[in-house]
Symmetry: C2
Subunit: 585 residues, 2 copies
Amino acid sequence: MPEPLATRLARLRAELAKQRLDGLIIGREDMFQGEEVSPGDERLAYISGFTGSAGFALITAYAAVLFSDGRYSLQMVSQTDPADWQCHTLPQYSLNDYLDQHPLDGLTIGIDPLLVTMTGYERYAESIGKAGGQITAIDVNPVDAIWHDQPAVPAPSAWRMDDAVAGQSVADKLQVLADDLRQQNLQAALLSRVDAVNWLVNMRGGDLPCTPVNLCFGFFDCDHGLTLLGDEDRLAPIMDQDIAVRPLADLPDLLALCAGDAVLIEPASLPQALSFEIAASDVEMVEGDCPVTPIKARKNQVEIRGFQRAHHHDGVAMVKFLHWLSGINPASYTESQIATRLEQFRSQQKEYLLPSFSTIAGAGPNGAIVHYRAVAGQARTLSDGDILLLDSGGHYQTGTTDITRTLLIGNTPADGDVAGAFTHVLRGHIALAMAHFECGATGQQLDGIARAPLWAAGLQFAHGTGHGVGHVLSVHEGPASISKRGGVAIEAGMVLSNEPGYYLPDHYGIRLENLVVARHASDPDFLCFETLTLCPFDRRLIRAELLSVIERQWVDDYHQKVLAELTPFLPETCQTWLAAACAPL
Amino acid sequence: MPEPLATRLARLRAELAKQRLDGLIIGREDMFQGEEVSPGDERLAYISGFTGSAGFALITAYAAVLFSDGRYSLQMVSQTDPADWQCHTLPQYSLNDYLDQHPLDGLTIGIDPLLVTMTGYERYAESIGKAGGQITAIDVNPVDAIWHDQPAVPAPSAWRMDDAVAGQSVADKLQVLADDLRQQNLQAALLSRVDAVNWLVNMRGGDLPCTPVNLCFGFFDCDHGLTLLGDEDRLAPIMDQDIAVRPLADLPDLLALCAGDAVLIEPASLPQALSFEIAASDVEMVEGDCPVTPIKARKNQVEIRGFQRAHHHDGVAMVKFLHWLSGINPASYTESQIATRLEQFRSQQKEYLLPSFSTIAGAGPNGAIVHYRAVAGQARTLSDGDILLLDSGGHYQTGTTDITRTLLIGNTPADGDVAGAFTHVLRGHIALAMAHFECGATGQQLDGIARAPLWAAGLQFAHGTGHGVGHVLSVHEGPASISKRGGVAIEAGMVLSNEPGYYLPDHYGIRLENLVVARHASDPDFLCFETLTLCPFDRRLIRAELLSVIERQWVDDYHQKVLAELTPFLPETCQTWLAAACAPL
């Protein structure tokens, strides 16, 4: 039987007292600030019970307060013990709001500087300072100190990605990076983004469930080359000899080699603990964005071909799954069983590695909860006539997929309003898929183009239209996005999602997502998108009379392409199903 | 005969030596940082000869370097003496680029702190410091010291705008401001935007050629009310008794009343000289955006009705002008004569006050120069078949107009490519005019909607799609814009321009501009635009077959509205012309 949460909290408070701390901030982040953390880094869940993917807690002798965003308002309350915990939803009620009402006069609040970025540390320090308290960076994490059965780090599983898959040798990538840094008069860069480091050395690994990376940092010195800062036993065996692997504790030695020189750091990803070390060194700390991020976002031709190949495999899996789904008795399956079955089809595809994120399968009203995750045992059983929103993806050896289809379950014809909304979402999707835009156009401008057809119909959705996608890396990748916040220009080679939606609370959710790659148009001053995803949209939910001639042609052309590309790789029964699914509107 | 520019420069250098300065920065700005400056503030033109609307010079003993943007690359060179001046185009070659090649080792560079904002001063200080020099804020402006016939300030002409035109009493406006400041825990605000101050006290004036304001600042203290900081002789006679008018030199007295309190200032508009005074006082300086700007941008119902009224007057003037233009012999008129004639028609309208900016009349290739201004004596004579781009506007007692029409001159039928481009620009214009968008949508998102039809046709334009327009104030007003930089949400009541374009260098320019006001749609979660401008588009340049049914209907509906609203106010010959100009496509 697991230890009661109340007991854990009491043991933590005892540990705080021992360390002479009046309180502690616990975030959900690990040292690497990715979307996923290893089980041994789930400190927030260990103490509070809350398993959401974002949030933080302030724990003092007399209060335990949990903050997360609107996705998790209910989950926070249901997973924590109301006798001990207060839960608040950001940004409606922030830490500052709480501290306005509960000052910290004279209290010392600890935070683990390895688990918070420079930017985050400064924000906490300001909030706590304004409330009359003071922040202190602790040496020993109090949660780790009381967590007796803390899960160990995952077994090593690093591998090299062949140059024929990566499309560029490590030496070439390092040369580009060196040129870039030298042009900015920088001697070195501390690379604190895990995906950037893995990409740079054509390495992947199994340290996280859905992001195929090895957790490590990198230090690149234009004269002395690259040093990976991480576990030597894991990384050294697969690295070329000219790339050093040293423990993170050796960072001061590397900084000493750059005494007096300008070293680039990224405050938004750099752990505060490392920023202390840099401040204590003799280098000139220059703040800026990770220099690898924009280079990595522009996929080379080999990476793009790899994405195409992965989408071919994924399309076969999706069509086999959809064919299977068309024949089931809905009442015999829950959302999570559907998700599991989809993952089985994917895992049977060649070159499949792992899911690119945890599948979202939301039927009926659950589809309207944008970040819904079906929990085994609590998932909804399907019914005839349900609208099922299914958002999933996989990493393959040559690329990453992310696809959402919204499906009519069973044989009851679709409701006209639902199909109308589906069709307007499809029109938004098509507007972006067909967009032709000038070089330099930003994701904000393109976002308006995708939303315009929905807005014209009085529909809106409260998430971005598209995110960048890494090459066998993070399924959410910067710097570009197609959204209100997407101020970065879209560039040729970027792989992005195209996923407008519409959600009617308590009824259904619709989202239609393909991945696209930005390409130069025939006029080199312009760009356009090529759709990578190969899978039909559910024709039964399309009201063809709401489409323009051009939109209808786009759907028919897309379905013909899907049919032509996938048919040779499908068993005969699937071929028949696909031909019907791809019939002209 | 005017003094040679070389002599002026020599006298300035002597003055610098007298003041023990090694150099001087001269901007084009006056203390009030508006688009226009009074003749006596044209220091940059006095010294350099360059009359462009933006730019600055660095003058040392051995060099005189002028910087402006791409609009003025040629004009800088043609107006300055190459023996004395180097000219550089921003941002391709910046002050920092110049200083990288010409360090200022040990030199002291002066700047007039009244004529540069806090933000600007910091930027100059950083550039000069990095180049090994140091900046110093001077007491006596060296240009003023040598400028013997410096034009005097314009004669006073302040007037009060009636509450029935302003739509809100001064007392109400001040109450809203006080509530806003108190909510932010601010005691006072130093208002350093001239249009904000004039709007706040329902005052207008004639201190500038095209912006009907009185040049002054304001200091608003939640307890002690509003003090105008400016010329008492001009302002006191028209102000209510509860509004004080004091010279700017009295600012320290006002600050003394707020000792220990938080006072809001806006670094982007506050002169550095005043920032010194605040720093020397005992107030807590809080940096932020002008609190009046967002309130002023949301026009009240009375202001909107005033805009409609002004556009009615302006439409009558435009149609009379277009009717006249249709009958001229093109070869008898230059661009500037056309502009003058248009202004005459406008000035005959009742309630007309003054032009809202200097008219742009660009025929043929001149139309492709986005900020072209015809200069009398050098203007192009019209030819049959010319495409004439005409961008003009007026301030009326109840509102401000800004309209661009692109016109076919003479009777030669339009070239198909030109008409195609015109039609695609019109499609962009219509897309924005018809847009229905969620509350919270930004100008960046709407910008994409306006550009999409042009991009789809392979056309682009290098300026914003729309700017805010003040109510009998600046024709360019923040905080919102419809552009790549328009991160502000569009709100109900905002008046904006809708002006996509297309420019084929050396051939022609096309821009189609109406003003629109944002309104709530029938669904209160959505907004839409109502077009204010009343004037037909040149039908001879529309290729109706390129328009969708909906776009064509929009043009026909718009023309019917123009016809119905204006006909009763036109002489008979004009009525006939307008009926033909507004005939269905």
